[in-house]
Amino acid sequence: MTRSVSSPSRAAASAAAHLALAVLAAAFLVPLLWLVFAAVDPRASLRARPPSGLTLDHFRAVLTPETVFVPVGNSLLLCGGAALVTVAASVLAAYPLSRYTLRFRRPFLYTVLFATGLPLTAIMVPVYSMFVQAGLLDSRFATMLFLAASSLPFGIWLTKNFLDGVPVELEEAAWVDGASAWQSLRFLVVPLLAPGMAVVGVFTLVATWGNFFVPFILLKSPDRLPAAVRVYTFFDQYGTVRYGELAAFSLVYTLPVVVLYLAVSRALGGRFALGGAMKG
């Protein structure tokens, strides 16, 4: 700080930077205002205006088992499960990819990454037939695994790069001491990799939480559908007339992800660490 006081040009630059940041932050915030205002405004419309009054009626109207609790529970099951599976499978897969010289490493990574560059909507038709034939339709567990598989390429990619940043010397020492690869993975690598795993988990959760198309096709029973499908059908059917309830529903639906993000980023010391993961 002393420096910026001593140098007027630096102070001006710093003020300009703060101003620019404030404007940008405001631009990111403004679209969200509607959500918050409409959720508590008894006469909600599309316009974001300071609420004409304060009401919790919209929340009361949507906080029922069939609108919110069951679907959000299903979302937690589907997306939380997918995040855990993705993290576990990614760590396992990233280990040999990072630690051993493998001829097929680059082709493997690029193939996997590009294959999933096919839009999910394109492959849902064969996926549906596959689920029917395997008797997996309407199974939350299978849908969860599918969501996990669809996040895997990204997860493996990130985890492998995180792992490249973890020095191999410790493991070599452990091997010399007779530890198996499994032991060194479990007791040395995983603890060092924890922040990266948390990042992958959050990424998977955020990406799958908003996906309505996959569960819409693969699940049938209304009581197994996740919130993404419920919020979409709610919008489609009543969105043009029940703004307040839609906003309240959206807030409740977004909340678990925000809480999780904050918890993870707190646990990582206030920084969502991507360091080292983005170097190809």
């Binding site: 038709v125 064969p126 549906y128 037939s129 596959m130 029917v132 034939q133 008797g135 339709l137 819409f216 096709i217 049938k220 209304p222 059908t233 489609d236 059917q237 009543y238 969105g239 043009t240 007339v241 029940r242």
Partner: protein, 449 residues
């Protein structure tokens, strides 16, 4: 090229595994699966089948009726049912089927003919003969039984028309008289009231094509498809006249502002907000519009009966039969993969019996096809559909029920949109439509002029 056989066999293997459905169906023959739509303001099918399930299972203790309500708009409902039909293990036994898709689904092998069941069914004689065509496929077999039908026409706010100096009850005899009334409303109220709603453009989707365009075209004597010659028609005078009507309505500012007309939710906004608020004088709309106003609606408007009246849409010059309409209709059909078609038919027949048909017609604001339902006091007392609308079944038309229709319909919506926005003259839009249709169905299947 050496690798081709390998990739082909791999593809074939995967295709066999994923698409063909080699495994035998594990269906329990005593379980009958019923798939239907349950969405938005439409809960009549859900009400009906819940009742059917309860009654049928009580009467047949060994049987189970499994309900598969699908909460999705019409197009997505169709997609889901197609997916189910494409996988024998998942294919439903009884399908709540738009009569409009029967031909496609028959060609795909998804439906089973019901001629024998129908011939032996005592209730069959109650059905009006006009319900036959819609459920009979091109191969001449019957594939469904209609649950109900609908018509389209002009809903108008009598109060607004009266204040604008239009005599009420309003009975326009030609297109010009419709436009005159709309102009009178515009003169009286200016920007406060939208005089005339005609759905147009791609966001409104099938509403634009059916409630809008084909309600006009069917009053010109021309058609989209010549059933006798089995070919699509383009460049007809009627097609041009219909686009000209759309142009007039939008260019004169009689219709909604295009940016409002191009809102995908325009139908909901019209029926739930603009009409109850007295902001829309005349709307070319379905006979079921009352669904948005009755007690169980999202935004009930019980006073609707005080102001809203229904008038048939006239033909262009008032030529015979004077009025026109378009109809759709939903039926129950039998899935071809059903392991127990006899039991499935029994479930169907139960859902179609007099009591249940009455319930469905009332709940779904449908026009019943059984004479004993239409004439029953019970139905008459609860019937939400205006008589004028119900009578239109005598002059109504249906959409060409072929696989190419969805694309043709999109081309119609695009032509309307170009005209409403002033991007093209009716002539240019009609020419573009002709090109598009030739591309979709192949030049050999089109007759121009």
């Amino acid at each position: 090229m050496r690798r081709t056989p390998i990739s082909l066999s791999a593809a074939a293997l995967a295709a066999a595994l994923t698409a063909a459905g080699c495994g035998a169906s594990e269906d329990d023959p005593d379980t009958i699966t019923v798939v239907y739509q349950d969405y938005g303001t439409f809960h009549a099918a859900d009400t009906l089948f819940r009742k059917v399930k309860e009654e049928f299972e009580a009467a047949h203790p060994e049987a189970t009726v499994e309900l598969r309500p699908i909460e999705a708009p019409a197009e997505d409902y169709q997609t889901q049912v197609n997916l189910m039909n494409g996988s024998p293990a998942e294919a439903p036994d009884v399908i709540y089927e738009d009569t409009f898709t029967i031909n496609q689904d028959v060609e795909a092998g998804y439906l089973a003919p019901i001629d024998d069941y129908w011939a032996a069914w005592p209730d069959a004689e109650q059905y009006h003969a006009r319900a036959d065509a819609a459920v009979t496929a091109l191969d001449g077999h019957r594939y469904g039984v209609m649950l109900g039908t609908d018509t389209r026409g002009l809903w108008y706010n009598a109060d607004l028309l009266e204040r604008a100096g239009v005599a009420v009850p309003w009975e326009p005899a030609t297109w010009d008289e419709v436009l005159e009334a709309a102009r009178a409303v515009k003169e009286e109220f200016g920007a406060e009231v939208t005089p005339l709603n005609v759905y147009a453009g791609t966001p409104a989707g099938e509403m634009a094509s059916m409630q809008g365009f084909q309600m006009l075209l069917s009053g010109t004597g021309d058609t989209l498809y010549d059933e006798d010659a089995r070919e699509w028609r383009t460049g007809t005078p009627g097609f041009l006249a219909s686009l000209e009507f759309v142009r007039a309505v939008y260019a004169e500012g009689l219709a909604l502002d295009p940016r409002d007309a191009l809102n995908p939710a325009v139908g909901t906004l019209n029926n739930e907000e603009r009409i109850p608020a007295g902001e829309l004088a005349i709307s070319l709309e379905g006979s079921w519009a009352t669904q948005s106003w009755i007690e169980s609606a999202n935004q009930p408007w019980p006073e609707w009966a005080d102001t809203m009246r229904f008038a048939p849409m006239p033909t262009r010059e008032g030529q015979d039969p004077g009025a026109t309409s378009m109809s759709g209709g939903w039926s129950l059909a039998l899935g071809s993969a059903s392991t127990n078609p006899d039991l499935a038919w029994e479930v169907m027949a139960h859902a179609l019996n007099r009591e249940n048909a009455t319930l469905f017609a009332v709940e779904g604001a449908q026009i019943p096809l059984r004479d004993d339902v239409a004439s029953s006091e019970e139905f008459q007392a609860a019937d939400p559909t205006p008589d004028a609308a119900a009578d239109l079944v005598d002059v109504t038309h249906f959409r060409p029920a072929y696989g190419d229709y969805p694309r043709v319909s999109l081309a119609i919506q695009q032509a309307m949109e170009a005209v409403m926005l002033g991007d093209a003259t009716p002539e240019e839009a009609a020419a573009a439509y002709a090109d598009e249709v030739a591309g979709v169905v192949g030049p050999d299947n089109v007759r121009e002029g």
